[in-house]
Amino acid sequence: MTVPTEICYFVAAILFMLSLKWLSSPKTARRANFISMFAMLLAVVPTFVQRVGATTGGALVNNLVIIGGGIAVGSVIGLVSAYRVKMTAMPQMVGLYNGFGGAASLLVAGVEFLYKTQQRLGLSVPESVPVHLSIIIGGVCFTGSMAAFAKLQELITGRPILFKGQHVLNLALLLAAVGLGAVLTMDPLSAWHLPAFIALVAISLLLGWLVVIPIGGADMPVVVSLMNSYSGMAVTTTGFVLRNNVLIIVGSLVGASGLILTNIMCKAMNRSLANVMFGGFGAAPTAAPVAAGAKGAVKEAGVEEAVMVMENASSMIVVPGYGMAVAQAQHAVRELAGLLEKRGVRVRYAIHPVAGRMPGHMNVLLAEANVPYDQLFDIDQINDDFRNTDVVLVVGANDVVNPAAKNTPGSPIYGMPVFNCDEAKAVIVLKRSMNPGFAGIENELFVHPTTMMVFGDAKQTLAKMAGILKGA
């Protein structure tokens, strides 16, 4: 390491921290992202110049082709995928990028190990431990993110994939990986170091996949957050391997960020991380207890009736859920809300932390549909206002509006913070059919006396409603 490169790293680390600080307000967030990009250049370009500049002749050509080619290929794939992806598919895209970061950390540690052993240099204990940690964490992050991607993209079932002895197997694999890492640390140059190393990589990759497949699709916000944290930790351990402070600092920031989000997601579901990871939530529809007397009749309403209720309201809260993303209905929601606002209805949006498939998913979709962000409220800000609200419009949300979480002990979601929709004067629920939601739990809100159900595709229903308002 040379002094100018180190100074660049130092400035980059400061800028990364400032960028996270400015990410806390929508006014400065875009600038924060540019600062972060600049900091990245400040870390990458001097590394490139210094490392490649130190080589000559054939080695220089090799380096330019390998590094330059890698950057060119990666940039094209990154840009094309980033501009093509739909906002509704953002959770799986972020999961995919995240997995690639984990894979890169795994490969960096792998090359370090292979090079040092091929050259018979060996690795000291402080060098070896972070290499093997990078392999394990990077490997789990890679295949775990791929499993999350496959679930979100519906390449494999979104339901938990469970089999007997699953958790014992995962524990055994983890212990085997740690054991192999320990053995390789003791004697990195033994005769069988290469097969042992390959086994370590293979076990880490297998473990990531197996840990994520028993987790249901609705719990993906937790998984995506956790994998985000792992990718940060993998960067930190890579920083230990390479004795590079900027990697250690940046990896710690990302690791902390992922852990905080994971914690927020778990709290928003009133479940522990262990329950999310090992609980197999949503595996099969459970016969949940329904509060005595709550099992009333479903009141179905037509589009016209629902419009009349909304038109005559003075305030409305929209509660969006994953169903809105599936139906791509965010623009239709916005159009309807705009027409109602013109008639003097005050429209706000209530966003549950776990609505959608990643933290903040609904906010992004509504922002895409030009909903001003000062109309978006999180649960703590708006939950006491439901009782003063004339009408609540539920678009594709289910568990987050289920009063069972408040008043049915024994329900699988009991204790989870939910919106007080039942306190509003009227509730309109847009829903495809009466099938229970992802977790397979009966929703008491649907049979609540103030609730009217409008069945059909949310996007089409909303368009019909807007059509009536335009015609009137």
Binding site: F16, M17, K21, L23, P26, A29, R30, N33, S36, M40, V44, R51, T55, N62, N63, I66, I67, G70, I71, V73, G74, I77, G78, A82, V85, M90, M93, Y97, N98, F100, G101, A104, L107, V108, V111, L114, Y115, N228, S231, T238, V241, I248, I249, V250, G251, S252, L253, V254, S257, G258, I260, I264, P353, P359, G360, N363, A367, V371, Y373, D374
Partner: protein, 96 residues
Amino acid sequence: MPPEMYWLLVFYVFMLAVAAGVELIAKVPPLLHTPLMSGSNAISGITLVGAIGAAVYASWDANGLLAFAAVALGTINVVGGYAVTDRMLKMFKKKP
């Protein structure tokens, strides 16, 4: 510097960075949690710095191929992550 001192110093750096991260990120509102996630995800692509270092060891052998893959994957993570974050942040407006 004796190696023990080096590792001690590195752990100080690590500890302080975690503390700073917790303080900074706890202040990000739920509104921006997706951009936070994709933005921090892009930042974690800084492992690219390590990939460039690893590529310098490599020639046209298995290591070269692994290093090439590491650089390419790290770059996808960085470039793609920043690009989607900017796409999202561009959409957040106060007035329609």
